[in-house]
C-alpha cells in the first residue's frame, strides 16, 4: 500500500513541478553517459516491437476488412480478405436485422450496464466503509473479504447454491455470483485510504456524515481509479460466457453476444430456424464469412469505444492490485 501511495505522490509532484524526488530518466532524451546503441541493436528492437504491434493489429484489420467485403471479394480471396476492394456494409445490415444477434446485443448491453452499476455501487460503498482506519470491525471484515481470494467453494458448490436459489435460466445468475470482486474493492480502498485526512476531518467538523464525505470528497478526488475499476467490471460482464453455459445453455433467446459468437461463429452452428451452416439461407446474398466477422467486430466495438479514455489510467489500478497481492 505504501508503495502505491509513493507512486501516486511522485506522479503528482512530477506533474506539478516537472521533477520527481527520485531521479528518473528524462523521456525523449538519451542521458549523456549512456553509450549510443548499435545499428543492429536498434533494428532488432524495432523489429521486435513492430512484431508485438503487428500480431495484435493485423488479425483485427483482416477481420474488419472481411466483414466489409462482398461475397465476390471473399471468393476471390479464397476466404479472409486482406485488403478492401469493394466495401459494403451489407453484412452489418443483415446482422442487425437478425433477431438472434439483435437480442444478444441487447442482453449483453443490459447485463453489462446493470451489472457494472450494481458492482460499482456495492464495491465503492464497501471500499469506503473499510477505508477509515480505527473504525469498528473493519479489520475483521477485511479479513473476511480477503479470505475469499484464497478459499473458494469452487465450480460445483457455487453452481448448486445458485440453482437452489432458483437462478437457473434467470438473468441474475449471470450477475450476482460475480458481482463483488475483492480485488477491485482492495484497489478502491487503497485510494480512498489515501484521501487527505485533513480534508475529511474538516468536512466532518462542518457536519458532513460519511455518506456525504464519500459522495462529495472521496469520489470526486479518485475519479481515475473509479473509472478503471468500472472498466474492469464492465469488461468482465461483457466478456462472460461461462455463466451462460452453466445457467442458461438452452435458452437461445436469452444468450448474450459472447455466447452467440461461440455458437455461430466459433462452432459454426446454424442460427435457429436456418437450414445452412453459417447464417441461414435467407441471407444467402451476404457472404456468411463476412457476417461472422461482423459479429466478431460487434463484440469488440464497445471495448474500443471506451478504451482510449481508459488506457492511460491502467497503471493505477493494476499496480495497486499487484502491490496488495
Amino acid at each position: 500500500m505504501t508503495e502505491t501511495l509513493t507512486i501516486e505522490r511522485t506522479k503528482d509532484k512530477r506533474d506539478a513541478t516537472g521533477r520527481s524526488p527520485v531521479r528518473r530518466r528524462k523521456r525523449g532524451k538519451r542521458p549523456v553517459w549512456e553509450e549510443p546503441p548499435s545499428a543492429a541493436g536498434q533494428t532488432a528492437k524495432g523489429l521486435t516491437l513492430g512484431l508485438v504491434v503487428a500480431v495484435v493489429l493485423v488479425p483485427l484489420w483482416i477481420i474488419v476488412v472481411t466483414s466489409l467485403s462482398t461475397q465476390a471479394a471473399v471468393n476471390r480471396a479464397g476466404g479472409l480478405v486482406l485488403w478492401p476492394t469493394d466495401v459494403t456494409f451489407e453484412a452489418y445490415r443483415v446482422m442487425l436485422s437478425d433477431p438472434t444477434v439483435r437480442n444478444a446485443l441487447l442482453v449483453s448491453l443490459g447485463i453489462t450496464v446493470v451489472g457494472t452499476a450494481l458492482s460499482m455501487v456495492v464495491s465503492v460503498l464497501c471500499a469506503y466503509g473499510l477505508s477509515r482506519s480505527g473504525s469498528v470491525a473493519h479489520r475483521f471484515i477485511l479479513v473476511l473479504l480477503i479470505l475469499t481470494m484464497f478459499l473458494s467453494g469452487g465450480l460445483i458448490p457455487t453452481f448448486l447454491v445458485v440453482t437452489e436459489l432458483g437462478g437457473y435460466g434467470q438473468y441474475w445468475s449471470l450477475i450476482l455470483p460475480g458481482a463483488v470482486s475483492v480485488f477491485n474493492i482492495l484497489v478502491l480502498r487503497a485510494f480512498y485510504s489515501s484521501t487527505s485526512a485533513d480534508l475529511i476531518e474538516a468536512a466532518r467538523i462542518d457536519g458532513a456524515g460519511d455518506w456525504r464525505i464519500l459522495w462529495r470528497i472521496v469520489l470526486p478526488t479518485s475519479r481515475a481509479v473509479t473509472a478503471v475499476v468500472a472498466l474492469f467490471y464492465g469488461v468482465g460482464y461483457w466478456n462472460s460466457f461461462f455463466n451462460v453455459m452453466l445457467y442458461m445453455p438452452t435458452d437461445s433467446e436469452k444468450w448474450p453476444l459472447q455466447y452467440v459468437l461461440l455458437t455461430y461463429v466459433n462452432r459454426g452452428n446454424g442460427l435457429p430456424g436456418s437450414v445452412n451452416s453459417g447464417f441461414g439461407s435467407q441471407f444467402a446474398q451476404t457472404a456468411p464469412l463476412s457476417l461472422q466477422m461482423a459479429v466478431v467486430v460487434l463484440t469488440i466495438v464497445p471495448l474500443l469505444l471506451v478504451y482510449p479514455f481508459m488506457q492511460k489510467h491502467f497503471r493505477v489500478g493494476v499496480l495497486t492490485g499487484a502491490v496488495k497481492g
Partner: protein, 315 residues
C-alpha cells in the same frame, strides 16, 4: 494482503463499543451489501463442499443426501481420466511457465529502452488490448488465422501445400494454448515489470556507467536486482496458481482437440460433475484441487522467503 499487516494501529480511544458502533454505523452499513453477496456466493459454497463427502441428489438437497465419507475420493483416485487431467494440468502449467514467464520481462526491458514517451505509450496501449478480449473472441481470432478454414491454410491451399490444422491437433495443443495465452496476456503482464523498472534510481546507472560498466553489466548488476522483488512475486503467484491453467480457454477448445489433450482439473469438474449430474464427484475433484492449491501457495511463499523476498505475504 500487506495492508492488513502494515496498517498503523488504530488510535486507542476510550469510547465504549456501543458509542463506536453508533459513530461508525454508516461505515458498517456500507459494507453490508458486499459482505452479504460474498457470504451467499463465496462462503455458503464453502459449506457446499460437504457434497464431496455425499452422494448428492439434487432432488432432496444437501441436507438429505446420503453421506458416503471418502467414497468419491476413492473413486476419483481410481479414475484414469482424473489422473490424465492432473497430468495435463501440470504439464501445461510447466510449459506456460517456461515459455510465457520470461516474455513480459523481456518486453518490459525493451519498451523501457524506447526513448520517445509517445511511441512507448502507443505500443503499450496496443499490447494491452487483447487482455480485454474474451476467450471466445481470442480463440475465434486464432481460429480465423490458423484454423482449417483460416488464413494460414488459405495461403497453403492456394500454393498447393497440404493443410496444417493447428487448432485441432492434440500433439501441439500445449504450444497452441501457450501462444494464445502469450498473445492475450503477455502485453498486460508488462505493466508490473515496467513499474519496477521505473522505480530504479537512475543515479545508479549513471555512476556505474562513469565507473566503466557497459550496457550488459548495468543490466545484470542494477536492472535485474532492481526487478527481483517483482519477478519473485509474480513467480510465486504463478506457482501458487499452477493448478489453474485457464478454464474457459480449455472449455472452448476441448471438443476440437479431444479430451485426452485438453482436459484439465477445472474442465474435469465441469464435464464429469455438472454435465453428467454427478455433482459430488465433481465437487470432490474441485476440493482436491483447492487443497493442493493452498499447499502450493504456502510452499511458493516459503520458497520466496528462503530467497529473502516477501512473496505474497510476509514472514
Amino acid at each position: 494482503m500487506s495492508s492488513v499487516t502494515t496498517e498503523q494501529p488504530a488510535p486507542k480511544n476510550k469510547l465504549s463499543l456501543r458509542s463506536r458502533l453508533r459513530r461508525d454505523r454508516s461505515l458498517l452499513l456500507m459494507t453490508v451489501p458486499s459482505v452479504a453477496l460474498l457470504l451467499v456466493f463465496n462462503y455458503v459454497p464453502l459449506f457446499g463442499l460437504l457434497t464431496a463427502f455425499q452422494d448428492y441428489n439434487p432432488l432432496v438437497g444437501v441436507w438429505n443426501s446420503e453421506w458416503v465419507g471418502f467414497a468419491q475420493f476413492v473413486a476419483l483416485f481410481d479414475d484414469s481420466l482424473f489422473w490424465g487431467s492432473l497430468t495435463n494440468t501440470l504439464y501445461l502449467s510447466f510449459v506456460q511457465l517456461i515459455l510465457f514467464f520470461p516474455i513480459p520481462i523481456a518486453l518490459a526491458l525493451l519498451l523501457n529502452s524506447v526513448l520517445s514517451e509517445r511511441l512507448r505509450n502507443l505500443i503499450q496501449s496496443i499490447a494491452y488490448l487483447p487482455h480485454f478480449f474474451s476467450w471466445v473472441l481470442a480463440i475465434t481470432i486464432f481460429q480465423q488465422m490458423f484454423g482449417g478454414a483460416g488464413l494460414l491454410n488459405q495461403f497453403l491451399r492456394s500454393n498447393d501445400i497440404g493443410i496444417w490444422d493447428i487448432m485441432t491437433n492434440p500433439d501441439t495443443f500445449a504450444l497452441l494454448i501457450t501462444s494464445q495465452a502469450i498473445w492475450k496476456e503477455a502485453g498486460w503482464s508488462i505493466i508490473v515489470f515496467l513499474a519496477a523498472l521505473a522505480a530504479i534510481n537512475t543515479d545508479l546507472y549513471e555512476s556505474s556507467a562513469v565507473d566503466g560498466a557497459g550496457r550488459w553489466r548495468r543490466l545484470w548488476h542494477i536492472t535485474l536486482p532492481g526487478m527481483m522483488g517483482v519477478i519473485m512475486l509474480m513467480l510465486v503467484l504463478r506457482l501458487g496458481n499452477a493448478l489453474s491453467v485457464g478454464f474457459e480457454q480449455f472449455l472452448i477448445q476441448r471438443d476440437a482437440v479431444g479430451h485426452e489433450a485438453a482436459d484439465v482439473l477445472d474442465t474435469f469438474a465441469f464435464y464429469y460433475g455438472i454435465a453428467t449430474n454427478n455433482y459430488s464427484y465433481g465437487a470432490a475433484a474441485g476440493l482436491f484441487k483447492s487443497v493442493i492449491s493452498l499447499l502450493l501457495i504456502w510452499g511458493a511463499n516459503k520458497l520466496a522467503h528462503a530467497f529473502g523476498e516477501d512473496g505474497l505475504y510476509r514472514k
